[in-house]
Amino acid sequence: MHDLSLTQMAKGLTDRKFSSVELTQTFLERIRKLDPQLNSFITVTETEALETAKQADRRLAEEKHSPLTGIPLAHKDLFCTEGVKTTCGSRILDNFVAPYNATVVEKLAQAGAVSLGKTNLDEFAMGSSNESSFYGAVKNPWNLDAVPGGSSGGSAAAVAARLVPAATGTDTGGSIRQPAAFCGITGIKPTYGRVSRWGMVAYASSLDQGGPMARSAEDCALLLQHMAGFDPRDSTSIQRAVPDYLSLLDEPLQGLTLGLPKEYFGADLNPQMAERLQAAIAELEKLGASVKEVSLPLTRLAIPAYYVIAPAEASSNLSRFDGVRYGHRCADPKDLEDLYKRSRSEGFGEEVKRRILVGTYALSEGFYDAYYRKAQQLRRLITQDFQKAFNEVDLLLAPTTPTPAWDLGSKTSDPVQMYLEDIYTLGVNLAGLPAISVPAGLVGGRPVGMQLIGNHFDEGRLLNVAHQFQQVTDFHLKAPELN
């Protein structure tokens, strides 16, 4: 049952082959059995899940259901859930229970999905390895010595290990795509403004975007259908109709031009991964697509631009965690300053502190022009680069990461080295573009991700191409062996 796609599950539910309660129990059982090895969940809401599943079964019986009714999923623990702890992977929110639901959570609940709990992540979504969580590192189900990627590492590992058929993620600099690639699943980062950020705890507001993580493009399409849309509570969400993604999946690829940005296929790229990608490109060509080399000359500069803008916004976004109204407060503060200093020093982990300091510095008087303003200028130029490319091609095709998942602990002592691993994902966030990561094989037993990047609001075409690719390949069907 746990290997079915969302569409197959929905059919099973409507055909009464199994109930939502049975489905939910199956996955809860797998979480109980397998997650101690992976640590992909922070909170499992068994009681609430079974209660919701019962309601879903009633709705299914009354035939008042949506395609997601009764389907289990999990939320990255960055989305606020009313009545259920929302930790952001941080000690500072270890005791925090949000009094409201994120729009994404609300929408999926309204569609009848059954939340099994909250998945682990890098603290406040800051990280590429899921090692910065207060709740401990998540392990990659393909190799328990490897990282699952980050920051949505819990969601990716849980979906890959079939602990849950789908999960929500957020992507600020690659946090959906990179863990999807490392764990061999499919994840789409939508256009900035496509999915509401209300209730999604902010890391870098101008870059953050929520999206689905599942095993196939088809499953992602179904989820995105229910997550996307204008939200009057988010001023940056965009008032624009959501297309019927599922109906676009079967469009033929004849006449499609894929651009291969040469900077993404350079010396940084692991040669075996390059081979997997070439094979994938050949498959797409067989389906009727043509390819063309393009150039995104500022690719490397996305790293410094991102690592100024994201920490700058984070330094301000994380100021509200001050020990005054909620979250961790130090014991017996002497005075106000002591309350701030100790609550925040004790509450935040190393990586979060590092980014707060970097961001504070970048915004300081005398440094603003040299760092923040310059980074914003770069951001505009990087966006223009992408626009130029889209004048020539329909979509871009690239690796999601330069290497497969690395070993746990191998990069924790050198944060800059870890930042460099984000080179293929950051530009997309700076330009606000949609992009999807699709499994494209294994290297050394570790998954390889192929990234497709679209122009603004071209999610339909990304899902279409990814789906067509998955009709002729079986990488996305492969499961890691876990006992």
Partner: protein, 482 residues
């Protein structure tokens, strides 16, 4: 040495919207602590701001009223600092691209002159909450009802040279915002707050002296006192060989002094940057034009109309246009009585005096414009004399009757113009004071003028004030001649 003070004001005006600038919470004053604070105002994780369009509209109306540029685009920025009543750890404000650009205000001075004060810009921002230091032994309470209340901060150029000018400017701002209906202007409740930047320099010197900022002076009277005190402090400091240090000072109305809060060196680096949760505000010409057309008659225009069309003095026109409610009251009395000068005398005289005595605003005056106009009509048609009119006004004020006519009737204040009746009273008075009559008749004709006052007084007293004073004068003159 002759010193010159240079003053600039930063005025925070609380806008009279229904809800907060970035959330749907009410901004009504005086609610129980934290009952008007939703998840946004509390700075919960994951919440996002949505700009209140009404606040933008009000800011633009102000801009138009002070002849300011309204830029097509303005940007909200975050001003970052930690304080317990600042829930997000930053205040959403505007810095590089404010909603209202350069403008000016012509303010009437007490000597009848006009002073032009330039307005550097005005920007929108959210208010912080309140820290409550009483009632929490050894602890501080935080009330976030006020957090997120929309404020318009109006920053003047340092164009004022005395405390009186500063007060006149502040009054003019107060008048404009209340005329526009964009603020209730209630200073006691903090709807209008003022920081003053004060420096002094030798008269004639171009270069500005070092300034001090006086925080939160919250009444017209305190603004004047605080600035005067600060000017004096700086002059004395310099004359004693000292030097003014740039700092923020707090005015203490109880001791009538300012004291240092923090110096420039201790000032925060606020790390302003554009708020990524809010899009830039983009305005089109048609929208601004539409708002322009909805502007009411403003103090400046009213003042002009009062002097040019109604023939009032500059002073009266200035007083009467100082608040929209007062001007509207006056306009209504003029409309009903048809006599602008008489209306002006009564509104600036008896009515204003009574308001001051009771410490209430024109809106709370128990005498409605209709009632006052009714009273003035009886003055105009000689039904009552001036003295009786004051009695009628007092009675109206005290609620002893609904109309002037009712009171005149009830109190028998109708003026006696019947010469026979007056003559009879005069005869009585003359018969009762033979010695004075004798003196009068013996006096030189040029001294008699003064002596006649005694008889007039006696006659008015005997008639309980109802005799027509003109008739009394004429008849007395005749009778005393014998």
């Amino acid at each position: 040495m002759q010193w010159e003070a240079v003053i600039g004001l930063e005025v925070h005006v609380q806008l009279a919207t229904q809800s907060k600038i970035f959330s749907g919470s009410s901004i009504a004053f005086g609610a129980e602590p934290n009952t008007q604070a939703n998840v946004i105002d509390l700075g919960m994780p994951g919440v996002l701001p949505v700009l209140n369009e009404k606040a933008v509209e009000m800011a633009i109306k102000f801009g138009l009223a002070v002849h300011a540029e309204i830029p097509e685009r303005s940007v909200f920025e975050r001003k970052n600092y930690f304080y317990p009543d600042l829930p997000k750890g930053y205040q959403t404000s505007q810095m590089a691209e404010p909603i209202v650009g350069l403008g000016y205000l012509d303010i009437p001075l007490e000597d009848g002159g006009i002073k032009r004060v330039r307005i550097h810009h005005a920007h929108l921002e959210e208010d912080a909450g309140k820290s409550l230091h009483e009632d929490f032994h050894g602890m501080t309470g935080v009330d976030l009802n006020r957090a997120g209340t929309p404020l318009l901060e109006i920053v003047s150029e340092p164009d004022m040279n005395s405390a009186r000018e500063a007060v006149a400017y502040l009054k003019a701002i107060h008048a404009i915002v209340t005329y526009l209906g964009i603020s209730d202007g209630n200073m006691a409740e903090g709807s209008l707050r003022c920081d003053a930047n004060v420096s002094v320099r030798p008269k004639g010197q171009e270069k500005l002296g070092t300034r001090c900022e006086i925080k939160n002076v919250n009444s017209f009277r305190f603004v004047e006192k605080a600035i005067n005190h600060e000017i004096q402090r700086q002059i004395e400091l310099i004359e004693d060989g000292g030097r003014v240090i740039q700092q923020t000072r707090l005015y203490d109305p109880d001791l009538d002094e300012t004291r240092a809060m923090r110096s420039k060196e201790e000032a925060n680096d606020y790390r302003y940057f554009p708020c990524p949760d809010l899009l830039p505000v983009e305005l089109d010409e048609a929208y601004i034009q539409h708002l322009k057309e909805t502007l009411p008659e403003l103090p400046e225009q009213k003042r002009q109309r009062f002097t040019e069309q109604l023939g009032l003095s500059a002073y009266d026109a200035g007083v009467l246009s100082s608040s929209r409610a007062l001007a509207e009251y006056f306009d209504r009395v003029v409309e009903l009585s048809g006599d602008a000068k008489l209306a002006a005398n009564w509104v600036t005289g008896e009515l204003s005096a009574q308001l001051n005595r009771e410490g209430i605003e024109i809106e709370q005056a128990p005498v409605a414009p209709e009632q006052l106009a009714g009273l003035l009509k009886r003055l105009q048609d000689d039904t009552i004399n001036g003295k009786a009119a004051k009695q009628v006004f007092a009675a109206l004020w005290a609620g002893e009757g609904h109309t002037a006519d009712e009171i005149i009737e009830a109190k028998g204040l109708k003026q006696v113009t019947d010469t026979g009746a007056i003559e009879a009273v005069i005869d009585e008075v003359l018969a009762a004071n033979p010695a004075q009559v004798e003196q009068y008749r013996a006096a030189e004709p040029e001294k008699r003028g003064k002596m006649v006052g005694f008889f007039v007084g006696q006659v008015m007293k005997a008639s309980k004030g109802t005799a027509n004073p003109q008739a009394v004068n004429q008849l007395l003159a005749k009778k005393l001649e014998g």
